[in-house]
Amino acid sequence: MTEKKHKQIFVQGAISSAFIADSIQKHSTKTNIGAHSIFLGQVRSDSINDRKVVAIDYTTYEEMALEKMHELREGIFAKYPLTCMHIYHSLGTIAAGELCLFVFTSSIHRKEAIDACEEVVELIKKELPVWGKEIFEDESYQWKENK
């Protein structure tokens, strides 16, 4: 159970706006924070060869993903003077219009929070073993590939 030491980032199902509000609200007691940067990934209803995406089903190799995220987190905290960082990624079926990724960085001055947030989003897309299966209206599907 060595994975236990790594912070969980995965949540089953979509990320709700109420959950995001709650996360933001919790930071009001940290009065050394001056800036928050938030990235939200939303499932897009792309049309691929005339078929419309209605949802994405996310799966992961969880043990590896949490170990990798731990490593990425340490790199980010070493590089940017952040007050805190929170990351949530959905698993399971997320409908078009719902939120599947929530990255939240906070710092004293704006530059660090903004730069760290952007970098974390890029790292998540490139380095986290997570796979999205785009599900079409007719229940056919295709596997996504990040650019």
């Binding site: 590896m64 999205g132 596997w143």
Partner: protein
């Protein structure tokens, strides 16, 4: 020696998400075996992780290694 292998995403569609192979002591011979057993795999780009780290080049597989086949990531 039987090696337990996990597969994810598109690869799990082809191989199943858990299966085992006999006596493949390095990643090159594993790739070769898989290409023979699952012809669809030969055209798919994938990485191999051993003990949760992606390996590059031919790498030895120990009996106790956890081996995973990883197609290109698409999280976020």
């Amino acid at each position: 020696m039987a090696i337990e292998i996990k597969a994810f995403g598109l690869l799990a569609d082809i191989t199943g998400s858990d299966f085992s192979v006999i006596e493949q002591r390095d990643t090159d011979s594993l790739r070769q075996l898989l290409a023979e057993r699952y012809p669809a795999l030969s055209t798919i780009h994938y990485a191999i992780a051993i003990d949760k780290k992606i390996v590059s080049g031919n790498t030895l597989i120990n009996e106790t290694s956890s081996v995973a086949l990883l197609p290109p990531f698409s999280g976020g």
